[in-house]
Amino acid sequence: MILEIVSSVLVIAGAIFAVIGGIGIVRLPDFFSRIHGAGITDTLGAGLILTGLMFLSPDWTVTVKLVAILVLLWITSPTATHALANAALETGLRPDVDETEEATSSS
């Protein structure tokens, strides 16, 4: 019973973060900042949902598989994100930044 409550809280929290990530993708102004919104869904959204499911797993082999999924996701998603961002940069898309900010920081 307690496990179910803990699990539900985590899964719902994860779902909320996943939705916030989606809202971020829509609201943020340019490609590079939208990536940050997707990052929320990738890390905390997926992380909380998978952690929540671990509390419901009938035996430890299922938990092991969920951990494996989480580890794989946390390695592949930043790699994919970087591939996307780098591809955009390579094809000439420039981040929409405050000019003065860039001048002081790109030294």
């Binding site: 973060f17 916030i20 990530g21 809202i23 971020g24 609201r27 943020l28 102004p29 340019d30 590079f32 900042s33 990536i35 940050h36 919104g37 990052g39 929320i40 990738d42 890390t43 905390l44 035996d59 082999t61 092991v64 598989k65 494996a68 946390w74 390695i75 998603s77 930043p78 790699t79 994100t81 970087h82 961002a85 780098n86 955009a88 940069l89 981040p95 929409d96 930044v97 405050d98 900010e101 860039e102 920081s105 790109s106 030294s107």
Partner: protein, 159 residues
């Protein structure tokens, strides 16, 4: 040879954990054959080395990962709140920092950690310099403080 033994141990552990079979001789035997085959092929491909099997990493990662998870959660909450605020308080900026890691694996861990943390994304790497897109000034300051860089360098160990 040490690496080959390590690879056998890891593959066997993965096989056992994913299958969950411990008392079926036929399946365990087939698992052993699979492990042997993969190790044989890996040896022939000459990928069983320090980079293919970074045995020195796990000890450092055990200390690094909890810190990283806490940082990721904090950054997530920060970015999520900014996204939800009607005035959308972001100040995107691009910064370049030096990655102090000696090995490629170390730099990959550092660049991936930055990307994994919402608010900062690694957009380019050249040599030991990485270019980062930061969503906010605070996120950029967090990377510039170099704490993550130092911690990842410690994960590398003496190697």
């Amino acid at each position: 040879m040490t690496y080959a033994a390590g690879l056998v141990a890891i593959l066997a552990a993965v096989w056992l954990l994913l299958s969950g079979y411990f008392d079926k001789p036929l399946l365990l035997g087939l698992g052993a054959v699979s492990v042997a085959l993969v190790v044989f092929i890996s040896l022939r491909m000459r990928i069983v080395d320090d980079e293919g099997l970074p045995v020195q990493l796990p000890a450092g990662l055990v200390r690094y990962l909890p810190w990283l998870v806490v940082e990721i959660v904090k950054a997530n909450v920060d970015v999520a709140l900014r996204i939800l605020r009607p005035d959308l308080p972001i100040r995107p900026r691009v910064i370049r920092v030096r990655a102090g890691q000696r090995t490629d694996v170390g730099r990959v861990i550092y660049a991936n950690s930055i990307t994994l943390t919402p608010g900062t994304v690694t957009i380019d790497t050249e040599g030991d310099h990485i270019t980062i897109h930061a969503l906010t000034e605070e996120a950029a300051a967090g990377v510039l403080s170099g704490e993550m860089d130092r911690r990842v360098t410690r994960v590398e160990g003496r190697g």
